[in-house]
């Protein structure tokens, strides 16, 4: 499994994270090349959202190093940190639009905060970003007035506002119907063709993952168990990768415990 590439946009070295003494990530190593779409796959609780929070600089790893364009957000000057944040656009799982602002104002917010552009230019740029995601007429609406899919597209527009080099999606298709989810996949592919951005997508939707990915990385219990192209992953023989791709469930019902309970009950030993 090839985890390192030459001149990566994003580089993770031995990244380890614990919450309340529980290890979530066990020394993850991964490089993401410039212009590449990397999909992070994994089941619930595999640590993929935690890994994403390290990449976008919301948390600092307990051990190891995360660099994006050679900037380590945990160990850099305030100026570099600002540069770091400006070079990454994030589309959050729940869209995270500000409800007190209209859609247009949401998109304009990073521009108003970080540029000195005149108001007319900012509004034009916000409109352009909305047009890219197909929401050109929705600018005046409030986020509550939008459907789930539209909210996610608006979130993508806001992530694009400062023309970032890296675009990050957290579960883009979660909670969406198949048609809207497919539209979002198409949007990701369009952005990739149009802007050549580096993209990191966290998902557990296999169809979507294989549609958009250049390479995929699979996490299981806080460790990377597979990294490779679609073909490499599909031909993997790793039992956990196979289980995930073939959708084989783990045994959930603890029937043996029920049997044990009745056995002890019949033997007159009152169980707890």
């Amino acid at each position: 499994m090839v985890t390192s590439v030459a001149d990566p946009a994003i580089s993770l070295r031995d990244v380890a994270v614990s919450y309340d003494g529980r290890r979530i990530l066990h020394g993850v190593n991964l490089d993401i090349a410039r212009g590449e779409t990397m999909v992070l796959l994994g089941g619930s609780g595999s640590g993929k959202s935690t890994l994403l929070r390290q990449i976008i600089g919301l948390e600092r790893p307990e051990a190891g190093r995360v660099t994006v364009n050679d900037i380590d957000p945990g160990n850099c000057s305030p100026g570099d940190l600002r540069k770091f944040h400006r070079s990454i656009g994030v589309a959050f799982q729940g869209a995270a639009l500000f409800n007190s602002l209209s859609i247009e104002e949401n998109i304009a917010l990073p521009l108003r905060e970080h540029t000195r552009l005149p108001e007319s230019t900012i509004r034009l740029m916000a409109w352009l970003k909305l047009a890219v995601v197909g929401l050109a007429d929705a600018g005046k609406l409030s986020p509550q007035a939008l459907s789930g899919g539209m909210k996610k597209r608006a979130a993508v527009a806001r992530a694009l506002a400062l023309d970032p080099e890296v675009l990050v999606f957290d579960e883009p298709s979660a909670g969406l119907d198949p048609i809207v989810a497919a539209e979002l996949d198409e949007l990701i592919l369009t952005l990739k063709r149009a802007f050549g951005m580096t993209m990191v997508v966290v998902t557990h939707e296999l169809a979507s993952a294989f549609r958009i990915a250049d390479r995929l990385a699979m996490l299981y219990q806080g460790s990377l168990i597979a990294v490779g192209t679609k073909e490499e992953l599909q031909s993997s023989t790793h039992p956990r990768v196979r289980q995930f791709l073939d959708r084989v469930p783990d045994p959930v019902a603890e029937t043996y415990r029920v049997d044990e309970y009745f056995q002890r009950y019949l033997e007159g030993d009152s169980p707890k």
Partner: protein, 270 residues
């Protein structure tokens, strides 16, 4: 033995939690002081000042009817209670003095702070808590926007401006209510009332009241916002944070008032 170690452990845990809370409060206060300059008009960020103006409406103007009504009622209560005692020693004309001193030194700022704490501390924590739950705070940070500067500082500036103003109005309405009572109960004329107020009203008392209300404003904003920023989990945590914000800020306001009054008492002012 295990019972003893268990209770010692609980006391220790509670103590470290409280110390940690105070530390978080102090750190947030320091950060918000630095962010406050960016909120000022002319020199700061124009967008923050606009937000601060909107917050002044929320915290101040919309609380005005409630605060003045509360102050009026408390003024009447104080005047009636005072009159029933003072009448027995033939000093009912001192009621105006009692209400004037009582309100400028104590009741005006305190009642205002309690009213604002109930209205706004819960609103701050619910607003920020919801932003936390819906990842809006995370979104701000990924856009290189400091949540303390963006969300807290405008509220802080607004509270520092409007809570002292509300306290002044509270003073005025409390004293007026006392005067109204004296007009009805003892037939005191408006001129006599005004002269009594002018004789009793001391600039120092009013200033002490204003200093107190600045401290109360700080407590309400910092506690309300910190409760919001510390929300973890889902919507139920937002509800708990709103309750905690009101309870803690009201308690701390009264505690701070005890501190101030003791200080002024010991330095011979009160």
């Amino acid at each position: 033995m295990s019972l003893l170690t268990g209770s010692v452990e609980r006391v220790g845990k509670r103590t470290t939690d409280d110390v940690e809370y105070c530390g978080a409060l102090a750190r947030q206060f320091w950060n918000s002081l630095r962010a406050l300059s960016l909120t000022l008009p002319m020199v700061g960020n124009r967008n923050r000042w606009k937000t601060a103006l909107a917050q002044m409406l929320h915290i101040g103007v919309q609380a005005f009817p409630m605060v003045t009504l509360m102050a009026g009622c408390a003024g009447l209560i104080l005047a009636m209670q005072g009159a029933s005692e003072l009448r027995r020693i033939g000093a009912i004309n001192l009621v105006v003095e009692l209400v004037t001193i009582g309100f400028t030194r104590e009741l005006g700022p305190l009642l205002t702070a309690i009213a604002v704490s109930g209205r706004s501390a819960s609103a701050f924590s619910a607003e920020i808590g919801t932003m936390k739950v819906t990842e809006e705070i995370d979104a701000l940070r990924t856009m290189a926007i400091d949540p303390v500067e963006f969300v807290l500082a405008p509220k802080f500036l607004a509270a520092l401006v409007v809570i002292p103003c509300l306290s002044i109005f509270s003073d005025a309405f409390g004293i007026l209510a006392g005067g109204t009572f004296m007009k009805i109960a003892a037939g005191m004329t408006f001129g006599v009332f005004l002269r009594s107020v002018a004789r009793t009203l001391a600039l120092r008392d009013v200033m002490i009241g204003l200093v107190k209300s600045l401290a109360f404003a700080t407590i309400i904003v910092q506690v309300g916002c910190l409760e919001g920023f510390r929300v973890k989990g889902g919507p139920d945590a937002v509800g708990r944070a709103a309750t905690a914000a009101v309870v803690k800020s009201t308690f701390l306001v009264i505690l701070a008032d005890v501190g101030f009054t003791t200080l002024f008492y010991l330095t011979g002012g009160v």
